[in-house]
Point group: C2
Chain length 249, copies 2
DNA sequence: TTCCTGCGTTGCACAATATGCAACGGTGAT
DNA sequence: ATCACCGTTGCATATTGTGCAACGCAGGAA
C-alpha cells in the first residue's frame, strides 16, 4: 500500500527489539542508507524515535503516550480489570489473561500475574497463538462464519508442544465444541505442563468482543482440576459482559 | 522529509486523542480521502491502527507492545524507580517525577503519584514545559552550550500562571542559578499553588541524563518548606547517578 | 603522523510511488 | 425515496521517495 510508511513501521517494530544504527536499519530493510535515514529523521522529528549520543536509534517517547492512549481506547480493558483481579484471587492466584481479536490475531490486553512464581511467555500487546491458546479458540469461534473461514485458512499450524492441534480439520472440531459448551480448553498445547480454560465476553448483541482465560501449571492442579474452574471463569465473563453492556449509561 | 510518513504519524497522534472516521482523518490532514485511506490501511496491516465494527479508527495493539518496549529502552527509568518511590515516601507522599531531555523537549519518564488527592497535569510520555517546570530548567541548564542556545531560542514563553518566566533574558538568569546551586525551583510558575524543586541525574562524565522533581501544593507546605526538601532530593539524584554509573557491571 | 573503519550527511537525476479526482456501492436515518 | 455518511476502486499525473556516489567527521590501530 504505502511503501515508505510500511518501511517506517518495520523500523519501529525492529527498534522494539533493541537499539540499531542507521546501517543496521538500512540493511534489515534492504534499502539504501539514505532512505533509512530520511525515515528515521521523520520519525525522530515527531519523537517516535530517539537517537542517543552514540548515534544509536531507540524508540522515542511519543510511544509512551500512544501506548497508554491505545490501552485506554480498548475500553473493555477497564471494564474487565476488577473482574480479572477477582477471578485470579478466587482461583488461587492463577494467571489470568484478557485478549481481543484484532486484524487476524488475538492480542493480550491485560494480564494478572500468577502468585506462583511460574513464568509464562505472554505480555500485554503481544499476539496469542490462535490455534494453541484458549483465548485464541474462543475468539475465532466467535467470529462471523465468513471471516472465521478466512482466518482459519491463514493460520500457520505450527506446533508448540506435542499436543498442539496440527491442522485445520482438528481445529474446526474444537471450534464447534467451543461454541457448544461456551468455553475452550488448552491442554498443554502451547506450553508443556500448562493447562488453560477460556471463555468469551459478549456485547448486547451477543457478539464476542474479548476472551478471558485462566492458566494453571500441572504441578499446581491437574487438567480435571482446571476444568473445575470453568464455573468461576464463566461467572467472571458473564459479569464483564453485563458491565460492558451497561457501560455507556 | 518523508511526506507520507509524516502524515501517517500525524494520524497516530490524532488517534491518540480519540477515535476518528476516514473523512475526519482526511479533513484534519488536509488530504484526499484516498490518501488517508491508504495510510490507514498500511497502519492497520501492522496493527498500529484498528477499525471497529462502526468503521471508526483507533490506535492498534502494536502500540501497547511498542509503548512498553519504549519504556524499557529508557534504562534510566528502571534504575531510578526505587529511588523515586523512596523519595516520595521520605517527603511525605509528594508527587515525584522523572524526566529526560529528548529532541527539544523534556519528557516525563516516570511518576509517583501524590498520596494527597491533588490532581496535577502530567503524565508519562507527555512533554514538560521547559521554561515553567523544575525538570525543564534542570535539563536545559545541563545541555552543552551550543545546543542550549538553540533550544532556548525555540522556546515559546507562553505564561501558565502569573509567575511564569516571561522571556529568554529571565530564563538565562535562572539557568545560571540552576547550574550554580545544582537544583532548580518552580514557584507556582506552571500551576497555581504548586511549588516544585528539581535536580539533575548525571552520568560518569557529569552530563545530565535526567531530572527528578518533587511537587508540593501550597496547602501542604509553603515555598520555604519545599526548599527544605532539597537535601533529600539531592540525596536521591546522587544515589540514582551512582547506580547509573555502575549499571553495566 | 597516517590509515583505516564506522557513523551520518548532502546533492542530484530518475522513475517509482503517492496523490487527487471522479464515480461507485454500501448502510442507516429522515 | 431520498439524503448523508462511510469506504472503495481505477486511472492519469507529477510529486515524492529512491538509489547512487562523494563527502565529513570521529575514533582506533598501526
Amino acid at each position: 500500500m504505502s511503501q515508505s510508511l510500511s518501511r517506517a513501521l518495520q523500523i519501529l517494530i525492529e527498534l522494539g527489539e533493541g537499539e540499531r544504527s542507521l546501517d543496521q536499519v538500512a540493511a534489515s530493510l534492504e534499502v539504501h542508507k539514505t532512505t533509512a535515514m530520511r525515515l528515521l529523521h521523520t520519525l525522530e522529528a515527531d519523537r517516535f524515535v530517539r537517537r542517543d549520543d552514540r548515534q544509536r536509534y531507540h524508540l522515542g517517547s511519543r510511544l509512551f503516550a500512544l501506548g497508554t492512549a491505545a490501552l485506554s481506547q480498548h475500553a473493555i480493558r477497564d471494564v474487565a480489570q476488577p473482574h480479572l483481579t477477582r477471578l485470579a484471587a478466587e482461583t488461587g492466584g492463577q494467571a489470568v489473561h484478557l485478549a481481543a481479536y484484532e486484524n487476524g490475531t488475538a492480542i493480550y490486553l491485560a494480564k494478572v500475574e500468577s502468585t506462583h512464581s511460574v513464568r509464562m511467555y505472554s505480555r500485554v500487546g503481544l499476539p496469542a497463538a490462535l490455534h494453541a491458546t484458549a483465548v485464541g479458540k474462543v475468539l475465532v469461534a466467535g467470529l462471523p462464519p465468513g471471516e472465521q473461514e478466512a482466518v482459519v485458512a491463514g493460520i500457520d499450524f505450527r506446533p508448540f508442544t506435542s499436543r498442539t492441534i496440527p491442522d485445520a480439520a482438528g481445529y474446526h472440531e474444537v471450534l464447534a465444541r467451543t461454541r457448544e459448551q461456551g468455553w475452550a480448553e488448552d491442554a498443554a498445547e502451547h506450553e508443556d505442563f500448562i493447562n488453560c480454560v477460556g471463555a468469551p465476553v459478549r456485547d448486547e448483541a451477543g457478539r464476542v468482543v474479548a476472551a478471558v482465560s485462566v492458566s494453571v501449571p500441572d504441578v499446581i492442579l491437574p487438567r480435571d482440576g482446571v476444568r473445575a474452574l470453568v464455573p468461576q471463569l464463566l461467572a467472571a465473563t458473564e459479569a464483564i459482559s453485563a458491565d460492558w453492556a451497561g457501560r455507556s449509561s
